[in-house]
Amino acid sequence: MLDVHGDFRCCDRCTGNATAVRASRRRMLKAAVLTAHGGPSGPEAGRAADFPVPGKLPRAVTGTVRDVSPHVLVIGNGASETRIALTSEATAWRGAPLEPSGVQPGDQAVVRLHPSQRSVADRIWANIGRVTGVIIERDADSLLVDEGKTKPRQLVTIPCAASGRIQVRFPNLEPGYLLDVIGVRRPGELEARIPATSQPAYPVGQMPAPAMVSGRVPATISGSVTWHDPVDEPPGLLGVSYPALDPGSGCAEDPVGSAAPQFVRMPYLAVGSVLQVSNDCTNSSCTLSVTGCAAIARLFNDRCVTCGTSPRGRIADLTQASFIALGGELERGCFNATITIGR
């Protein structure tokens, strides 16, 4: 049996009240120094307050299914309960499409609500999970995956039914190679069902260096945007893990050596920085705060093909709620996106 107890730490990157206060305080202080010196403070400072507008984007409810009937779904989160109406148009997913009333009490559910009818379910994902990282061990029926220093190791099992589908996209299920799969959460493990991308041909220790391009980094960057499992994040958090956090912050998360490649030219930011993320497939966009580091995302040089073919590279790793708010379908794994960074 593989040992999942690895050393992981939160550092500056865990989300919660402490990070939230620090992020907002940083925005305030930055606005203060830029305003005092007549810098590019106007649009950038204004951007800090430009968080998603209520009622404009799909809202997600996350929690444990406490009761389900053909017409009503009850989602519990701690002491609170949310009753959500199920209509004939609602769809659900638990490893495969199923009837919304097929979700079971005890399932961890992510429910996307109708933007116009806030108590009506549009889509339900039950027990959905994702593991994105570097394979560090393998035994007969499972893989141990490292998702970076700030997350615990993940145990992934691949059932026979999904094995062929996954191995077509991930032919090297060996230590040192990258893995990105979506599946169903079981106690202590993820049962992989869908490959979320195609595996890079090289192991993480032999990544090709990115091209050297001179000149200023553009304020708008296009590429693939993915989502990640909430580990320590509060339910429903709107935020983004960014692949290029300042390496001088004293909490580097490079999984391979001290200089992990970064295929997309992305400027260094910090927790608390804000950027605008636009879904190029649905044309919806919102401004999100950086809440963590996408240490593994920067190792992928893949494209998203949800609508057309995106430029190479992962430019952001969203929380589930942000991904849903921007019109993403969790089981697809990504959407083509453009991020805009304030100057």
């Binding site: 009240n17 930055k30 203060a32 809202r59 001179s214 509060p234 300042d246 910090a270």
Partner: protein
Amino acid sequence: MFGHAVLEIREAQVPLLSAMLLGGCAAKLARVLRVGSMDAGLGPTALFPLRLRRPVAVATAAVEFACGVALIVTAGGLGRGGPATGVRLATSLLFLVATCALIELRTSHPETGCGCFGEFSRAPVSGRTLARSAFFAAAALATIGLPPLRAPHPGADAARLLGIFAIELGVIALLSPELGEALTRLGYSEPCELRRLPTVRTLAALRRSSQWRKRAWLITTEVPVDMWRELCWRYVVFPARIGDRATEIIFAVYLRPHRPVVNSALVDSATGDVLAWPVAPARRRRFFAAKPQSTGLEPSGIRRLSADAESGSVSPAASLPISGARRPAPGASWPGPGSGLGAGSGRIPAGMLSAPSDPDQYLRAIRVDDPPNPGEDDLPLSSDL
């Protein structure tokens, strides 16, 4: 005459081959040192299973180094006969095997670089790469059976030898895709947004700046309470105190290696308002009079506060907000310096303030017991939509 010219060309191959082998070995070593792992090798090691790649990379570099050194050592009278021939045969064999491996690599891993010169050989194996390897194999074969090398006579002999070197280096340059990569690197200037600059250097540059000299008398702790980077700027926050009022000084340091631009602002810790800078005490004014005080960055419209010239204390009533910077919600409090790890009532003289040698040190100074309800500036949740 023709025979003599051919002999000179054959003799020129020995130092050239040695230089190429040692140069390739050095470039590979530089890449390993930069990446920190032997596994990060390029080239024909990709043909081997993962567990064999490290020993193959080590063996390749070792053989290159050994052949390069041995070619020089056996070039003169020391290697007369057997040793010189053996070394040159081994070098020929090395280049022949390398040529075959590159052909195989081009077929099976068309996207992989040859790795011949480490980091510079990232371009996929091309016909030029193969031709260069074959050229070296032919050059090594041409050295077999040469008599011991002699130093050329000054004058015509030396000029002819230099000419041969120049022509051959030109041919090698034409066959080397690495030349383009090297020229690209020479002309590359890293944008400031991507520049890696340690926090220690930022703090050292800040300490040397005139902004620091002007503001340091207000600062109450040695280590910053927060530091972060966005794009081309690194922001450093120090707690400060004006009379009984807890404030914070934020410095924005432009990320460039030498003489960065530094901006600063004074912010009320409780309300988040930007405050006007208090006038330094008289003794400090005299001290700084020898140095230029105006950086040209003083915000226009900031009112000088009435201050006690001797004590440096400022009437709290005079410290009025001067801009519309964002304020926290009513009832919410900013994690101010007063309760931070570095809080203190005494001011630190500028000369005593120093950048922490441990880059993590400032992170540990950040408060983690922030209030549970941060107010309207909390990160938004999906339920807010």
